[in-house]
Assembly symmetry: C2
Homo-oligomer: 189 residues x 2
Amino acid sequence: MQDHLIREFMLHFGEMGSRWGINRTVGQIYAVLFLSEAPLCADDLVTVTGFSRSNVSMGLKELQGWNLVSIRRIEGDRRDYFATPEDMWKIVRTLIAERKKREIDPTLSKLRELELSTRSESYSARRLTELREMIETMTEFYEEMNRIETKRLVALMKAGNRIGRLVGKTGQIIPFGRQRSDEAEEAGG
Amino acid sequence: MQDHLIREFMLHFGEMGSRWGINRTVGQIYAVLFLSEAPLCADDLVTVTGFSRSNVSMGLKELQGWNLVSIRRIEGDRRDYFATPEDMWKIVRTLIAERKKREIDPTLSKLRELELSTRSESYSARRLTELREMIETMTEFYEEMNRIETKRLVALMKAGNRIGRLVGKTGQIIPFGRQRSDEAEEAGG
DNA sequence: CATGAATTTCAGAAATTACTGAAAACTGCG
DNA sequence: CGCAGTTTTCAGTAATTTCTGAAATTCATG
């Protein structure tokens, strides 16, 4: 019924796919599944996207590798059906976790490995250490945030500018009620 | 001097480049600049990477498009020299801002456009609205975080598990000293 | 354990992207 | 202006990635 919407979004997601490190096929398949209330089978996706059956199969495989779709079986139907999670925040968590795994973790490993294999005090060695430390700070923060249940996480994000006020330059959590101005805390520390 | 380090890191970054939506050339060039204390000129990069002069030129152009390198002039030398910021956190901010611009913003625009052009109450329409709202929540949070000066931001990130405790399920900031357990706050609300 | 529907694999074709060398276009300087 | 050094452009080639159809495999079911 809202065919235009689905089609437009599917094409857009396909285009974006290339910027996201997945390809057009995968992007389009995901978009269609994402907008479908009922799970879809591979043939449905062939019909909607116009890709070959084998291409759809590979795309679905890749999406499963990303943990972005789940397989469902339908009573008395031998085909596999695919669906995305209802919960949008679950999707985003998965996406971030998978991108981290692919884009950050290998570099972190490499940095650790390089640090172990050298005893240099050169600029480049120091720079690599600094990079590793920064990545560790960020990933630890990410892991901390990711531990928070969704309701609270959303509340935290919506707390907006109150967040920045909570932390002084030295990292202490500023007691509630003393977050009015930057100076107040400076004077107190 | 620490040639091995530079070489290994350069090759690794080149490989990773493809996962990051930049290509091998760009990744390697960036890696070398990142590890170099002094700015380098294009010919230096040709020597180190082994790429053709024109390829290096294009790679540098792309890095400039990402705001990841700056041009420096050296007294009495007509060549352009290139450098990355000393400040690691500045680099990461740039990287995130640029990825957001390329990977998020176009989709946000498209979602807004699609919402304006339809009056449907279908599942897919609702799903798109929910997606837009989620992206807006996240980008607004990002913008808030990005407004915080680096020292504080790092302190905040290192505050670790204290952060999650600060926010109740309804989004209120919990007074300091009452963050001990999940139940305490539940009882108080 | 045979059947046939459904899925996956895979080799090659098609499309896209990366890379190069040569030529053109800058740029500061005598 | 004209020259030499430097950078950029661009058309063609190389390399990689995506996509397909056909064949092989899997698997629930009789």
